[in-house]
């Protein structure tokens, strides 16, 4: 064939939906991608970097509080540190990880080649990144970063009491970062509900996908309330007089907590799904009580929308009866989920891999966070411990001892899928034990500090207050947490650099569809070499293995009598 005829047969345009292999690795390909996995990895990578940055701020806070009457940083800067630590962890780390984990996994788990509206999802990432830049830009302003706490109550946060550009940048940053998360959540929810592969019916979706659905329903319903709250605060920055009317201060609190209670559930629901997947995989059994768990996840999410007022008991502007009743009702769906966890593990053939260790630790530690949450949602207790370190301890047991363990379970479980490389088990176990001991040593004494009367958000205290011993213990625990993070970084760096442990497609003998494709998955998730298997239930690969084992045992080959067989070429 001559060069002329060859060029004549070339099409005028090339298919450019999937960049050629040579271009897929470039920075431009990553930054303009429409591949849900890459968008998710960009979001997750940014969040994990911020986790380290915001964690360093917490170490400075702990260093300041270790001994009485210390002044490592000024009081104003201390306010900035705990504000950026709290708001950073919530708005920029755990929430984005919770949503982006769904962005990565949900299309794979429902057998879809792509996420719905990928450009909207990518817009979500850019807004999140822009919000991050704005929030941290406060450190470069004359009066320092935002210093009004992650809830930014007026009138303190009006321009009259907290002047300076840092606070305004924080409001703008939170607004657009959260807007970005709404965009991503909307696309993931749409994909799970409407873009599934045909064989994947709703009741064949894995527990993680259902947890992602419940999470994203809360995002759609509750997150716009924060946009309204930030809008009100922005208005108050321009016209601070509006906050002389208490109506607007209370209205702000309603708007804020209508977002801020569900966001707690947004920050742990996906990890409940993660723990369910990890426990069932490493117990070698399908998840116990699947249907009940699905119903309980959705009910739990709905109830979580109606408990926000328990954060406002001490204002006297919220009904004690209603909000404490709905808060206590949460125990029922939570109990169903916990029953599912335990019943899956009991009697299973357990494999104590690193993700399994994190998942097992999640169960009792998150229980402490949850039960103390019910305690503080009871008015008589709340009036005693509100604004004390008891709340700090409860909050950190929920997010650090709970969600963070779910996050690391997910990290160790799906890292091989995303990179094609296994992490080092020995370093993983070091990380696990350092984190487990560090977390409990840091946050358990804070319950005692709260009951002893140590208030939140104080920059220092006096020796005669009696807070020293518990603070020294808590700070020692924080060092262990920092060490565990260093071990994690070393684990990732050495694993990626040396590439000595290729993962294969399914290193854990997983149950769900993402383990049926390559590691990392191809651009459109499933291809000729990795077709979508049969999906008879929410654990299709377990079914497949059981069927193949049955065939081997009986010598029966269904293809001989017209049946369909997996694993064969097409």
């Amino acid at each position: 064939m001559t060069a002329e005829t060859e060029s004549a047969q070339q099409p005028e345009h090339r298919q450019e939906d999937v960049p050629p292999r040579s271009r897929r690795g470039t920075a431009a390909a990553w930054l303009t991608t429409t591949d849900h996995k890459r968008i998710a990895l960009l979001t997750l990578g940014t969040a994990l970097v911020l986790f380290i940055v915001v964690g360093v701020l917490a170490l400075v806070v702990r260093a300041q509080l270790t001994l009485p009457d210390q002044h490592l940083v000024s009081n104003d800067f201390y306010n900035g540190l705990f504000t950026i630590h709290g708001s950073g962890m919530i708005y920029l780390v755990v929430t984005p990880v919770a949503i982006a984990l769904g962005l990565y996994l949900v299309p794979l788990q429902v057998g879809a080649p792509a996420v719905a509206a990928p450009r909207l999802a990518m817009t979500g990432f850019w807004l999140y990144l822009a919000g991050t830049v704005l929030i941290f830009a406060g450190f470069a302003t004359a009066l320092g970063p935002a210093a009004g706490g992650w809830y930014a109550y007026p009138p303190l946060n009006s321009s009259r009491y907290l002047p300076g550009t840092g606070q305004s940048l924080w409001i703008a940053g939170v607004f657009i970062a959260v807007l970005g998360m709404i965009f991503q959540a909307g696309t993931v929810l749409w994909t799970a509900l409407l873009k599934r592969a045909k064989p994947v019916t709703l009741m064949r979706m894995p527990v993680f996908t259902w947890s992602s659905i419940a999470t994203n329903l809360m995002v759609i319903g509750a997150f716009p309330s924060l946009l309204a709250a930030m809008g009100l605060l922005a208005w108050g920055r321009v016209f601070p007089n509006i906050f002389t009317e208490n109506l607007w201060n209370i209205a702000y609190q309603h708007l804020f907590w209508f977002f801020a209670h569900p966001v707690v559930y947004v920050m742990f629901f996906p990890f409940v799904g993660v723990v369910a997947e990890v426990l069932s995989t490493f117990s070698g059994r399908r998840f116990f009580g699947y249907r009940a768990t699905v119903v309980s996840l959705l009910t739990f999410a709905a109830f979580s929308m109606s408990v926000w007022g328990h954060h406002m008991f001490s204002t006297g502007q919220a009904s004690n009866d209603y909000y404490s009743l709905t808060s206590i009702l949460l125990l029922v769906p939570a109990g169903v989920e916990y029953f599912g966890f335990l019943a899956t593990v009991i009697g299973g053939q357990l494999r104590f891999t690193v993700p399994m260790l994190f998942a097992i630790a999640f169960v009792p530690q998150f229980l402490i966070g949850g039960l103390t949450g019910i305690m503080v949602a009871t008015p008589v207790i709340d009036y005693q411990v509100t604004d004390s370190y008891f709340i700090v301890a409860h909050w950190h047991y929920t997010l650090a001892a709970g969600s963070l363990f779910g996050m690391f379970a997910a990290f160790h479980f799906w890292f091989p899928k995303a990179t094609g490389l296994l992490l080092d088990e020995r370093l993983g176990r070091w990380q696990f034990w350092l984190l487990t001991i560090g977390t409990n040593v840091t946050f358990l004494p804070m319950f005692w500090l709260g009951l002893e009367g140590m208030p939140r958000r104080i920059a220092t205290y006096l020796p005669q207050d009696g807070f020293t011993t518990a603070n020294v213990i808590a700070s020692a625990g924080a060092v262990l947490i920092a060490l565990s993070v260093i071990v994690t970084i070393a684990n990732v760096v050495t694993s990626v650099r040396d590439r000595r442990r290729p993962a294969g497609d399914d290193p854990w003998q997983g149950f769900t569809l993402e383990w049926a494709t390559s590691s990392p998955p191809p651009p459109t998730n499933f291809d000729r070499e990795h077709p979508l298997p049969r999906v008879p239930s929410f654990a299709p690969l377990l079914d497949e293995r059981a069927r193949e084992e049955g065939e081997e045992r009986t010598g029966d080959d269904p293809t001989e009598h017209g049946g369909l067989r997996s694993g064969g070429g097409r």
């Binding site: 099409p11 345009h13 090339r14 298919q15 450019e16 939906d17 999937v18 303009t32 991608t33 429409t34 057998g111 879809a112 080649p113 792509a114 990928p118 450009r119 990518m122 817009t123 990432f125 807004l127 822009a130 830049v133 305004s168 940048l169 703008a172 657009i176 807007l179 509900l193 409407l194 599934r196 592969a197 045909k198 019916t201 709703l202 659905i213 329903l217 759609i220 319903g221 716009p224 309330s225 209370i250 209508f258 009910t299 999410a301 709905a302 929308m305 109606s306 919220a318 009904s319 009866d321 209603y322 709905t326 459109t524 998730n525 499933f526 077709p531 979508l532 369909l564 694993g567 097409r570």
Partner: protein, 170 residues
């Protein structure tokens, strides 16, 4: 279509709808405890947002817009430009309206890219010269297609041919 089949087919909308209904009931229950209007209104507004999402799901189901996402833009420059535009708007609130002078640039890029720049032309073809109207390809399935899937595929090809005839982009 039998009513049972219709119910089953609309299951995703029912999930969202039931969730919104439960939220609505919880919102109205506040009235028995708290006479103030703000919590009820706030809760009902949140519920309405979810309900609107549910209606969008229902409309999509009725229009048979379900099944894997098969058409994709091949890049997302518009997304980055939109992010920059929103960033500029926020900076204008913080530093003053003069920042808005920067707004047209990312906005124009976002609009042009969203409308034209990131879609494949009707004449686009893949490496083998086959029409690339619907890209990426459907997920390969490890079994023989059912008759429903054969019918759906035929319908997709028919629609693709119609779009191609009209010279529409994907």
């Amino acid at each position: 279509m039998s009513p049972a089949a219709g119910l089953k087919g609309a299951a995703p909308a029912h999930v969202v709808g039931l969730w919104a209904t439960l939220n609505g009931a919880l919102a109205l229950a506040i009235l028995f405890y708290d006479p103030g209007p703000l919590p009820v209104v706030l809760h009902l507004l949140g519920t309405t947002l979810v309900a609107i999402y549910g209606v969008a799901v229902l409309v999509t189901l009725r229009r048979r817009g379900t099944g894997p996402q098969l058409r994709l833009p091949y890049r997302s420059v518009a997304a980055g430009a939109t992010g920059v535009a929103v960033l500029v708007l926020c900076l204008a609130w913080v530093y003053g309206v003069w920042v808005l002078a920067l707004l047209p640039y990312p906005l124009v890029v976002a609009v042009i890219m969203a409308v034209r720049g990131e879609r494949l032309s009707a004449a686009a073809a893949d490496a083998s010269g086959a029409p690339a109207l619907r890209a990426p390809r459907s997920v390969p399935v490890d079994r023989a297609p059912t008759s429903d899937e054969v019918r759906d595929r035929a319908l997709e090809i028919h629609h693709a041919q119609q779009r191609r005839r009209r010279g529409e982009a994907t």
